[in-house]
Amino acid sequence: MNGATNIEQRSESGVTLASDSAERERLDNVRPLDWRNPPPASCYDLVIVGAGTAGLVAAHMAGNLGAKVALVERHLLGGTCLNIGCVPSKAILRTSRLYAEMRHANQYGAQIPADIRVDFATVMQRVRAVRARISRADSAHRLTAAGVDVFFGQARFTQTDAIDVEGATLRFRKALVATGARPDMPSIPGLAEAGYLTNENAFDLTAPPRRLLVIGGGPLGCEMAQAFCRLGVQTTIVQRRPLFLPREERDAAQILSDAFARDGIEVRLNTQVRNVRVEGGAKIVDLVSDDYHSTVVVDAILTGTGRLPNAKGLDLEAAGVDYDARRGVHVDDFLRTRNQRIYAAGDVCLPHKFNDTADASARIAVANALCDGHERLSALTIPWCTYTDPEIAHVGLYVREARERNVPVKTFTIPMHDVDRAIADDEEVGFVKISVKERTDHILGATIVARHAGEMISEITLAIVAGTGLRTLSRVIHPYPTQAEAIRKAADACVRTCSLPQGGHEQSRATRIA
């Protein structure tokens, strides 16, 4: 691991030991040191393997239904989200955003502080405090008090209806695999020898690297690159493709590139890492972009920003559950595996590896497993957000996806510079784009790029889930001034064009301003 990492103590199992009161509180909640597994019940209604978001949601829901539930966790309750993912990353992003605002205070009519110094230790202390506070909700003791049998240890299926945990056999009527995912490490010569950070240890840093290379321009890579840059780390981000966030709308990705450049991140798009070596304590990284070769020298490398499902090591074969290394556990639309007793939920089986989707899938799996439900994964409308500044949020179909399905699409675009509150906030970078089926107001999807896009996208998600047309949103009063007014403006534009006669240039001319 990287030399800049400063983890005071590790147990034999690799669990980070408490180094301050916040860490002690968190570990006491998510992996009490003196924990003793309970004696197993004769048979559980539901055994859940993995206590990340999906596992915890499933445990609470099943418990509320009156089921006898066992929850098995190999490492820490709360999983990636609480310990090494959403929670700590959002906490660090908040501080980094504040530093960015301080440096540009004059934009807001304020004085730029004379001496802006980043106290990295304090930043990370806050991250740990936030993490500890949120860990209280799903502590081992609270789960136990709620009637859930919590087991720490490695779970292995021994039969189609039994699991071994540290020598104890847990028999089940139904089981749920919710073991999550882990960093997908790129295969780069010299990287392992040189050492690297991933989201699994980046939040344990107590001192910042002076120079950081982020490999991978997906959501996590982008968020972390911007956070570290704003905390004073000289940051370079390398992305193999010509744009960041390859799934996203290209204008969104382009705006993000521009935002990175404004922050001072050195952006290397269309670039691959060839190899890494260490010289004089520094990491020397060779890059290539088409035929252009270059080298960057850094003190730390952050990578593994893609995610791979944790499907191995569970002896799923013994339970008759199919899986592979890339897709994870194979499930049908009801989240059932090939073994009809066993379900899966969350990152271990879903292409969308988001906390909220893990939550939603767990509810489906429990309903189907315990209540004879027939809820389908495909019925979910899944929004997502990359929490860069500006944020990039999306729900529904992309224009390209709709066009590939021969659906005629029209997109109503409202630049944030047309929104009064965005102007007042000096947060004009970005847009709201809402796509409808041409000549209707049926919403197909939306992309929002804005400072608070994650908060704004839910209105569109609600409209899609409820089957509400875009024109209806025009009649919804949006408090003035708010940035969400951009959505109403898009709806207004839809009303204006849809109320006009269709066909030919004359109709289109009538819609223009000139």
Partner: protein, 462 residues
């Protein structure tokens, strides 16, 4: 070439109200309209002639190559050669060049490309019928480790085919010219440029193979796809156009419905050769529009952006706009302009509404939209000339200027010298507006017609 200076521009009568009729053609029935039309024509003639003068100034008569810019030791851009080849016929028609001179210049260039090294070596001129983007002005070999460029080759070949269509005399020289133009077109292996995929790649390098990116979204590459589909020898796959256009985005922006692309040049380049009025592919049939109309709407979008001027740059308004690919200031420029304190993009494809935008405008960009919205464009051109005459010294436009970036003496930044692409598109679009010469020639070009049909275009003159 003697051209009137900016302050000698032919002025309109001033008595006539400015026509406010939306549409593609200037209304001539208002009082004083004839005088205005004459003044407009004198203005346009001067600018077109000055733009054409760029090619005479920078062509190497020994090989027909034309420089990318007027800057010293700058190489040839193959696309600029395409514009030059396209403008020689217009120059003949306007009496700026004799037919013999035009044939001679065209033939010299075509012979050079025919005989050039097509091995694909790192110091060759081309490969598979395509050419490297930048060539040495004297030797014609690749410079700057530039890419084998699909779009720039297409613009070059469009120029060659324009010459082929115009020089139709039964003479040995013009026979040879037509034969070489055909030969150059026929030897291009468009399918190879798909690299086994569905769409065209943007480029290839001998050192690293195909560039990793293709065409995403509406762009200037319609002419590339049309030429690729029209080839009688190595056509692109039949689904390639559909595979590209599936990435289009039809947007309602500033209350205008249009096929989105940010930089203005995207809405102009293919139109230099192809008359898109009332011919429609499947996408435009679905939208009840056409690419010509779309380019007119792009003008409206530019004006709306400039009126809003979200980044509050100096000079922007409805009569002062033009965000496109152009030269701009850089941080490396003299600090007298304050360049070190601002984000500046140098040569970049500026666009609306998402940028990049550093306050740099291309004075020529509105004029290159002349056929689409003549009234708006002409009033814009006059307003911009009046306010910022230094952007167009001797009636030849600088690539870009930045009204808000001034030196100690109060002079705003102007891109030094001239760029061939800018002069080419301005000259061609003025000529198309005045006489439709290139459009008329290319409407008869069998390869263009075949390519348009294979791309699914129907209607209108087609």
């Amino acid at each position: 070439m003697a051209a009137p200076s900016a302050n000698q521009f032919p002025q309109r009568s001033g008595a006539a109200p400015k026509p406010k009729v939306p549409g593609n053609h200037t209304r001539r029935d208002a009082p004083g309209a004839d005088a205005d039309a004459d003044a407009d024509d004198v203005l346009l003639d001067g600018i077109e002639r000055a733009a054409f003068g760029y090619f005479r100034q920078t062509v190497n008569p020994a090989n027909g190559l034309v420089a990318d810019t007027t800057r010293e030791r700058w190489p040839c851009s193959i696309a600029v050669v395409g514009f030059a080849l396209s403008m020689y016929p217009a120059a003949v028609e306007r009496g700026w060049l004799s037919r013999d001179e035009a044939v001679d210049l065209s033939l010299t260039a075509l012979r050079f490309f025919r005989d050039s090294d097509q091995s694909g070596a790192s110091d060759a001129t081309g490969y598979k019928g395509f050419y490297y983007h930048f060539l040495d002005m004297q030797s014609g070999v690749r410079v700057w480790r530039s890419e084998l460029s699909m779009i720039d080759t297409a613009l070059l070949i469009a120029g060659a085919l324009t010459a082929r269509m115009y020089f139709d005399a039964d003479t040995a020289q013009e026979d040879e010219l037509r034969e070489i133009a055909d030969q150059l077109y026929r030897r291009i292996d468009w399918r190879w440029a798909q690299d086994g995929g569905t769409t065209m790649k943007q480029g290839w390098k001998p050192e690293s193979g195909f560039l990793h990116y293709g065409w995403e979204g509406y762009s200037e590459s319609i002419v590339l796809y049309v030429l690729a589909l029209g080839s009688p020898t190595h056509p692109a796959g039949s689904h390639t156009y559909e595979a590209w256009t599936v990435t289009y985005q039809w947007e309602n922006l500033y209350d205008v419905d249009f096929l989105y692309a940010g930089p203005l040049f995207i809405h102009q380049f293919s139109h230099a050769w192809i008359d898109f009025r009332e011919i429609r592919d499947a996408f435009m049939r679905e939208k009840c529009s056409d690419y010509f109309e779309n380019s007119r709407r792009a003008v409206t979008i530019q004006r709306e952006y400039a009126r809003r001027n979200p980044l509050e740059f100096v000079g922007y308004d409805e009569d002062c706009w033009g965000l496109t690919a152009c030269d701009g200031p850089t941080r490396a420029m003299p600090d007298a302009y304050g360049g070190a304190r601002r984000r500046l993009f140098g040569y970049a494809a500026r666009g609306v509404p998402w940028g990049p935008d550093d306050g740099t405008l291309a004075g020529w960009a509105p004029l290159a939209s002349l056929p689409f919205a003549p009234d708006i464009v002409l009033s814009t051109v006059r307003a911009m000339h009046e306010r910022y005459p230094q952007m167009c010294p001797d009636q030849r436009y600088a690539s870009g200027f930045n009204p808000g970036l001034t030196d100690a003496g109060g002079s705003y930044w102007v891109s030094p010298g001239h760029y061939g692409l800018d002069q080419g598109i301005v000259a061609m679009m003025i000529e198309n507006h005045r006489s439709e010469l290139t459009w008329r020639l290319m409407r008869r070009c069998p390869w263009i017609v075949a390519g348009l049909r294979r791309a699914g275009f129907t209607g209108g003159w087609l």
